[in-house]
Point group: C2
Chain length 469, copies 2
Amino acid sequence: MQHVPYFDAASAAPLHPVARQALLAALDEGWADPSRLYREGRRARLLLDAAREAAADAVGCRPDELVFTPSGTRAVHAGVAGALAGRRRVGRHVVVSAVEHSSVLHAVEDADVTEVGTDRTGLVDAGAFGAALREDTALACLQSANHEVGTVQPVDEAAELCRAAGVPLLVDAAQSLGWGAVAGGWSLLTASAHKWGGPSGVGLLAVRKGTRFAAQGPTDERESGRAPGFEDLPAIVAAAASLRAVRAEATAEAARLSALVDRIRTAVPELVPDVEVVGHPELRLPNVVTFSCLYVDGEALLHELDREGFSVSSGSSCTSSTLTPSHVLKAMGVLSEGNVRVSLPAGTEAGDVDRFLEVLPGVVRTVRARLGAPASGPAAGAGRTAGAQDEGEGEPDLVVDSLGKRCPIPVIELAKVIGDVPVGGVVSVLSDDEAARLDIPAWCDMREQEYLGAHAAPRGTAYWVRRVS
Amino acid sequence: MQHVPYFDAASAAPLHPVARQALLAALDEGWADPSRLYREGRRARLLLDAAREAAADAVGCRPDELVFTPSGTRAVHAGVAGALAGRRRVGRHVVVSAVEHSSVLHAVEDADVTEVGTDRTGLVDAGAFGAALREDTALACLQSANHEVGTVQPVDEAAELCRAAGVPLLVDAAQSLGWGAVAGGWSLLTASAHKWGGPSGVGLLAVRKGTRFAAQGPTDERESGRAPGFEDLPAIVAAAASLRAVRAEATAEAARLSALVDRIRTAVPELVPDVEVVGHPELRLPNVVTFSCLYVDGEALLHELDREGFSVSSGSSCTSSTLTPSHVLKAMGVLSEGNVRVSLPAGTEAGDVDRFLEVLPGVVRTVRARLGAPASGPAAGAGRTAGAQDEGEGEPDLVVDSLGKRCPIPVIELAKVIGDVPVGGVVSVLSDDEAARLDIPAWCDMREQEYLGAHAAPRGTAYWVRRVS
C-alpha cells in the first residue's frame, strides 16, 4: 500500500499495531459474556478486569472508579447526566468553557449554563472559570485540551477552585489522554479510545469516589450500572493495550511531533500570505496546529488538499452541515474562513510535513484565484482621506450587497472595494452568511482596518468597516 | 486448540468466520470518521452505507429506517424512549409481555405498564395482548422469541391488533433475527449482532417511516440523531456481513439444530428423573432447549457441567446476583430449580450433543447426592389416610422450618417429609427463599400433590401442601 499521510488524528487515529494485535487475540478469547460462570465467561471476566486495571492506571484512578462506555460521546453524556442527577438538590447551574467539545455542550443543553469565554488563543482563564461557580452550581466542565486548536487548558487550577467551591469538575480528556494523565483533583473524567489509536467503540468514564453520581436511563447491571449493554470486550482489551503502548512512547513522540508542529506554525505564515495561525503557541497539544486563510473557501481547500493526498479537517462554516463556523473559532474571535486543522498521528514522518508545506501555498493560490480573491497585502486604491465623519452614524460611503453569498465571498468583496473609499470612509457589507459575523472583524484585525460593528438590515446584517490605511 | 462445545449461543455466539474477515478488512479501511470529506472518510462512509443497506435488507426495512447502536440493550433503550416521547400526548401506558428481555422491562420502568402473562409454555396469547391495549397506550413491546425458553411469539398477529388500535409495536428480535426476518407490521425492531455471530458492540434499531419518534438524550448528528457517538464502523461492517452469511445458511442450519434440540427434549426426561422440559414444543427457536431438574442447585449443576466442558446458562435463583429466579420462569409458573438453558451455536456437532446427554445424568445424580435429595418417584412413606380436614384451615400436620435455606433445599426438605404425613395430611414449609414461591407449587404439580397456597408467617412464608398420593 502506498504511504499516504493522514493529518486528522484529532478526529480519529488509525489503529495502533498493539491495538490490532490485542483485538485479534481478544476476538478468540473474549467474545463470551463476562458475567457467566463457565470457562469462556470467566476468561472474558479476567480480560475485562485486566483491561480496567490498565486503563485506570493510565487515567490515575482506581479500577472501581472507571467504566467502559461505547464511545467518548457516550462517556460524556453518561458522566454529565449522572453528575447533574447526583447533585439535583444543589441546583441545575453548570459552568463550561465556551470551547468544549459539542458532546459536552449538548449534554448540558437542558441545564442553566454559564459559558466561560477564552482569549484569542483559545485559553480559558482559570480565575474567570472559578468566578463563574455559584451556590447552585451542580457541575463544571473543562476540557484538558481543545480539539480544534490544541490549546491546553488550566485544568489543575480549575480543579482547585472547583474543589474549594465544592463543585465537581468533569474533564473531557479525549484529546490528551494518550499523551499523559490529567493532573489535579478532577472528579469525573472522560476519554475516547480511537483518539489514541485504540479501536472505535470504546470510551472511558472515571468517577472519583466521593463524587455524587446517579446513573440515568434504564437500570442495567453491567459496568456498575453506568454503561448499559453487553461489553464490547475485544475492543475494550484493544483500547487498554494501546493506551499503555502509546503512553510508553508518549514523551519521545510528543517531542518529535511538537517540533514538526513548530515547523508548520513558523512556515505557513511565511509561505502563504494572509494566514492566521490560531491556538496557543506554547500551551498546546504536541500534534495539533490550526490556521485560517483569508479569501479561501474551506471546503475547496480541503478538497484540493485531499487531491494532493492530505487529509485534514476544518472549522469553516462551509464544511459543517449547519453552515455555521465552528463554535471554538467563534468563541476565540478568530478568522474562520479557509480554516485548516492539522493533527498529526503518532509516527508521522518529517517528510510528510515537508511535502505538506511544499503543496500548501499552491493549493491556497489555486483556491483564491478561482474565487477571484484580491491580491495580498494592504488594501489597494487611492490614498484619499475622507472628511470628518461621526462613528456609526450617517450613511456609509459604499454598500456591498453580498446577500445570498457564502463565506469567503463577503470578505473578498469587502477587500476588493475597501480601496475605493477614501481613508476614513466607511464600507457597509450586507450579508446573511453566519460566518461574516466572525470573519469581517477578523479581516479588519488582520488588515488593520477599523471594524465599526454590525446592525440588523432589512435583509441580513450590515457590517460597517472604516478604512484606516 | 481442543474442541470444546459451547452451548450458550443465546447469550453470546462465537464470532462467525465471515464476521472476523470483515472486521479485519474494515479495521484497515474503516477506522476514519465517515462524516469527513477526505479519502479515508469517504471510504468509511461507503462502508457504513453498504452495511446499512445489507442490514436493512435482512431486517426488511429501508436503509434510512435503520440505525446502528452500540448494543441490543442500547437499541431497546433508544427505541422505547424515542417511541414513548413521540407519543407523549397519547399517554404513558405501555403493554409488554411478562417474558420480555430485562432491557425492555427496564426501559419501561417509569411508564404505566401492563404485563401480559403467558401460558406454561411461555407463549403469549395475541388476543390477550391486543385486549390490553388502551386509549392511552403509547407503545406495545413483544419479543419475536423468548431468550430463555425459546418460545416463538405471535408477533404478526399482535402487530395486526396494534395496528388496528393505532399503537406502535416494538419487536425485540435479538434471539431470532439471525434465523429470519420478522414478518408483519411491526413499527420498531431491535436486535443485537453478537447473538448471530457478529461482534459485540453492535445493535440495530429500525423505526418504520410514519412511526412517531423523538430521540431522547443530548443532540448528536450521527445515525440520524438516534445513536450518539462515533460509529464503531469495523464492528458494524462485520455485523452486517455476518448477518448476511448466517441468513444464507439459516434454513439448513435451523433444520439440523432443531433435530438436535428435539433429541435433547426427548432424551433428557428419559435419562434424568424428575425433570421438566420447559418452553413450547413446536413454536420454538431451532437452537434453544430449557429444562429444570428437581432437587438440584442450579449453580452446582452449571459448575459440574462446566467441569465436563459444557457451557450453559441457567434461570435458577442461585445463579443470579439478586437470588431470585428468572422472571421468565416465574411468569410461566414452571420449576426454576436446577434450570439449564442449552442454546446451540451454528455449527454445533451432533457428537457434542451426544456427549452432553451421556454426561448429564451422572452430573445431576452427583449434585442431588451432595444435597441429600430424596429418591425419585412418588413420595415414600406409609399409606395412611388422614381424617377429614378443612382445606386451608386448622393447623398443618407437620411444619418444616427451611428459613435461611436456599433453593433447592426447601423443596428437598418438603419431599423428604411428605411421606411422614398421612394421605390427606398437610405439610407447611416455612421459607424465606424467593424461589420457593415458584418451586413448591411446581413440585406439587410434578409429584401430583395438592398445593394449598402461601401465607405470610411471622418469619418468611408458609407454603401449605396436602399429600394426595
